[in-house]
Amino acid sequence: MTYDIYMDFILENYKNPKNYGKIEKPNATSRGLNPLCGDELEIFLIIDKNIIKDIKFTGKGCAISIASASILTEMVKGKDLDYVKNLKENDLLNALGIEISPARIKCALLSYKTLKEAISNIKN
């Protein structure tokens, strides 16, 4: 274990997460839970003609899970749904740019799982 997982890029996204907040009338949403530690994440989406027009999240969690939600939401904003569908776990992990130990992988992927869940049940 080294200090590397708390490099500046992660800390910035943790302390001032992008896209943090709620969307009043989302047409896709999901709530994710990491039962091992009680982390919670809620993701809200506005999708229009297959395009992610807006995305926000709220929740509580460790630096890794919050930073990863911040980074993930930035990655997908403005993209079409196929992009999200094709997105692999590793794509997000690579974007984080840190090496995640097995114990923290659930933190890092909570946002990813929650987003996948959200786009699997889009309301019209």
């Binding site: 274990m1 080294t2 200090y3 997982i5 708390y6 800390l11 943790y14 302390k15 001032n16 997460p17 943090y20 091992l36 530690c37 009680g38 982390d39 919670e40 709220t58 929740g59 509580k60 969690g61 460790c62 630096a63 890794i64 919050i66 130990s101 923290r104 933190c107």
Partner: protein, 422 residues
């Protein structure tokens, strides 16, 4: 007093280095490390005595049986049980409590009640919740602000339908040492069974079942220097005698025919299948190790450590700990969180919980300094709900820890803020 330097030499794992640093193991509440005496007892068993027990006529099997039953006696003496027959070997505390929930639970009826507390480990909640299906009601004793039980509530909640009161001796989060002797009296005056979860007491202080007068006591070998896969259910013999068996199979029967079966005497009635002789032998070696130190000394040592640690934590800026401040009623475990960090640039995400740094980050960063603490809900989610927090970090102490370890721990806490640039 305890000679920690001498003791440490008995624990090979403590020689390991992480990131070039001496390992500071502060997670004995989850599981303890093992002295070489226990490791060697296991090897010695397999190298010289291994055989299936009880039904073997040949000498080797007699030797194994003898080791197994002597281990039972040793454990029996350790908790001052009057008969070795009161000691049922199980896998761990969890199995012991499930055994009780299944067997005592079978006799409970719609409307019967069980009293437990909000500070229990999941192992003393979930098995009883299974009984809700048949209409059994579970009542929870609440805690005071200082993490002690609201003792008055026992008398408020108890009714003639209260068949079982089951309480942890020591909380694995708050550290609270409950006044179980008193609770036992309340239970028995009411004619209720009294069960004690001893997972966090038996390893850390003298426990005397005669003095407590509990009907049952459950504990785990792996938390008291013994191997994994072995635990103990103590039960009063006359109650065990009357109980139905839990699991069926070899060893636990008297006779089996196609038409049905009759049961062996206790404790074998509750030990279906090939027992874990290795585990019993290893646990017995652990008991000898602890006896050698003396359980009074173990308790004194942990009091001393927890006092020092609480003092250092109080001096530390921005840490809250949970549970009693008084080490007389507190075991060697400290759950804590970073709060009120003086920094505006804190993750918004945690603000509403009043916690400033998530316990996962605390544990990860402490680990960089080879300081090993647990983080999470510690299998006590109802208590987390009650405290209004999602999780805590937790440091816990045992015979191989000393003041140095606590200093390292406090230094590492300082590092948390540095790494997170707070």
């Amino acid at each position: 007093m305890i000679d920690v330097n001498k003791i440490r030499k008995d624990f090979p794992i403590l020689e390991r280095k992480f990131n070039g640093k001496r390992m500071i193991y502060l997670d004995s509440t989850a599981t303890s490390q093992k002295p070489i005496q226990v490791i060697d007892a296991i090897s010695d068993y397999y190298k010289n005595y291994n055989a299936n027990v009880h039904r073997g006529i040949y000498g080797l099997s007699e030797e194994a049986t003898d080791l197994y039953e002597k281990s039972r006696e040793n454990v029996s003496n350790f908790i001052n049980s009057k008969q070795a027959e009161s000691i049922v070997f199980v896998r761990n505390t969890t199995e012991a409590l499930n055994l009780l929930a299944y067997t005592l639970g079978k006799k409970l009826k719609d409307g019967d009640e069980i009293i437990t507390t909000v500070m229990e480990h999941h192992s003393n909640i979930v098995p009883w919740q299974f009984l809700k299906e048949k209409g059994v009601k579970i009542k929870y004793i609440d805690i005071n602000e200082d993490g002690t039980l609201k003792m008055d509530e026992f008398n408020n909640l108890i009714t003639e339908r209260t068949k079982i009161i089951t309480v942890t001796h020591v909380s694995n989060v708050l550290g609270t040492i409950n006044d179980i002797k008193h609770i036992g009296k309340i239970a028995h005056e009411n004619g209720s069974y009294f069960i004690v979860d001893g997972a966090q007491s038996v390893p850390h202080m003298p426990v005397d079942v005669e003095n407590i007068d509990c009907d049952f006591l459950a504990f785990s070998g792996h938390k008291m220097l013994g191997p994994m896969g072995i635990g103990v259910l103590y039960g009063k013999k006359e109650i065990l005698d009357e109980m139905d068996p839990f699991m069926g199979g070899g060893e636990m029967i008297n006779e089996v025919h196609l038409s049905g079966a009759t049961w062996a005497d206790v404790p074998l009635k509750f030990e279906a299948g090939t027992p874990n002789v290795e585990g019993a032998v290893g646990l017995s070696a652990a008991v000898n190790y602890l006896k050698n130190i003396g359980m009074e000394n173990v308790r004194e040592h942990e009091k001393y450590l927890v006092n020092y640690a609480l003092k250092r934590i109080e001096e530390f800026n921005g840490i809250t700990f949970y549970g009693p401040r008084d080490s007389e009623i507190r075991g060697g475990v400290i759950a804590f969180n970073f709060k009120n960090v003086k920094n505006e640039k804190i993750a918004k995400a945690l603000m509403d919980e009043g916690i400033m740094i998530h316990p996962h980050d605390v544990a990860s960063i402490l680990d960089i300094n080879a300081v090993m603490v647990r983080s999470g809900h510690h299998c006590a989610q109802p208590l987390m709900d009650r405290l209004g927090i999602p999780a805590t970090s937790r440091a816990s102490f045992y015979i191989y820890n000393d003041l140095d370890d606590i200093d390292e721990f406090i230094n590492a806490l300082d590092n948390v803020k540095k790494v997170l640039k707070l």
